[in-house]
Amino acid sequence: MGSFKIINPGLLSSFQDMGRSGYAFYSIPTSGCLDKQSAAYANIILKKPIDAPVIECNIIAPQIEFLSTTQIVITGADFNWQLNGKAIRIGELINIKTSDILKGKSSREGCRGYLAVNGDLKLDKVYDSYSTYLMGNFGGYQGRQLKKGDVVEWNELNPIVSDIQMDIHFKKDNQVNFFKGPEFDWLSSASKEILFSSAYTVQADSNRMGTRLKGPALQLDTTKMKGSVPVLPGFIQLTPDGQPIVLLNDAQVTGGYPRIGYIPEAALPAFSQTPIGITLNFKLW
């Protein structure tokens, strides 16, 4: 059996996989990796199933002490990762010895990193997924984000040889392509102009439920939402103060705010890598 210990959890590190599908009817969100593409790369390089659970870290990297020999792959944003103080590359297989210390700094380019381990992780599988749903306190490691002192165990798998290397660069494009949502036409024509010509900045109170944006306030010609309506990850809601929120994987399944647009699922991994403080421009697909 293998294991590692969390020396420092970073800003928000949790186990995620490809998420839950088919449970939104029961108000259980999909959860799962925000940047599924990077997470899948880590598993591919490690020759594991794409939906194997990985650690997702956000903005500030965790510090981890390995209590056994193993192999890992790190993908996603660049956190200046170091193994025993020496810089390591992301996107390739790394051999780990007992007592090795993995740490990183703040993310540069992107804000989500993924760590895959060559083992069958001992985690909670709830409704077909190992993803931690933080609000619901279930899945992953005890249904919560990782804390200092947590020891994560796994059943060891045979060491692999992998010559796959991926040089992953995020598209440095501040343009957000979106489709019209059900209430798009409620925006006043002046507000449509503003939306397409203004910059919106990612706010610090964003989380796995949604990315909050701030820019010139948008107005609606009508505000008559008839109760709560269905929402999915990627939906762009307009809050009462006229600011957009892009819903992410842990978002509620219903909401009372107008849905002015949506970012299609395939574009969400890249969008969710947008760090706080970055300025975005909206453009219709």
Binding site: A24, F25, Y26, V126, G227, P230, Y262
Partner: protein, 232 residues
């Protein structure tokens, strides 16, 4: 461009968003949970998620979707197979601070409010918000209390609350804008089961006022809602 679809004698406008998702919208509030549930249980290979609210059913589509497949929904039988259950919901009407606003707004004393609550028979408007949150319909208009303009940061798990025309069940501790009036003694949400909420769109609910002592007894014995109601 928008077409119409008839399901269970309800006419829906079909709004297709680039084959990413479809919204079926009806003009009047309907209990769409039952229709949603039947669509979900048929596991169409072109639908990944079904979300039902009062006016809309959202179908999240996948690559298997093509336009002619939507008509498969019209072949479904919407005659409910399951027995309709009447659930007693045991509530300890605690001394939560939100009572002040509820009494002020309704101009009624707590005892009178509890009396009215116990007289009603309620139906399920929809599931939504968070796991185990039920929008319960049928609250007499004297007990309608608008939601808080600023939501509370913390509402304890298994709270019964009033929000506008609904009663709602906060099964998980969460922030929330509804007024808490009581604690539910037998949890509605069971994450070890599928469905996690046994109450379906066809069921009905009665509110039962219990003492603090009885509440603590049910809590310590960990009685589930199904067991409490003798439903197996």
């Amino acid at each position: 461009m928008s077409q119409l679809l008839q399901l269970n004698n309800i006419s829906f406008k079909v709004l297709n968003f680039n084959n990413d998702f479809i919204i079926l919208r009806c003009a009047e509030p309907q209990r769409l949970m039952m229709i949603g549930e039947i669509i979900l249980k048929n596991q169409f290979e072109f639908i990944d998620e079904v979300i039902a609210t009062e006016f809309e059913i959202c179908l999240k589509l996948n690559v298997n979707y093509s336009e002619e497949k939507l008509s498969q929904l019209t072949n479904l039988s919407f005659i409910p197979k399951d027995k309709r259950n009447l659930y007693k919901l045991p509530i300890w009407f605690n001394t939560h601070e939100d009572w002040t606003q509820v009494m002020k707004h309704t101009h009624l004393e707590k005892d009178a409010i509890i009396d009215i609550l116990q007289k009603g028979t309620y139906s399920i408007a929809m599931l939504g918000f968070l796991p185990g949150f039920i929008y319960i319909d049928g609250l007499p208009s004297v007990l309608h209390v608008p939601r808080k303009s600023t939501p509370s940061k913390y509402i304890p798990a298994n709270s019964l609350a009033i929000g506008d025309k609904y009663l709602g069940t906060y099964s998980l501790a969460s922030p929330g804008g509804w007024h808490v009036i009581g604690s539910i003694a037998c949890p509605i949400l069971d994450l070890t089961k599928l469905p996690p909420v046994a109450i379906t769109g066809m069921d009905q609910i009665k509110i039962e006022s219990i003492t603090k002592e009885r509440y603590e007894e049910l809590q310590s014995e960990k009685i589930q809602l199904l067991e409490y109601n003798g439903i197996i």
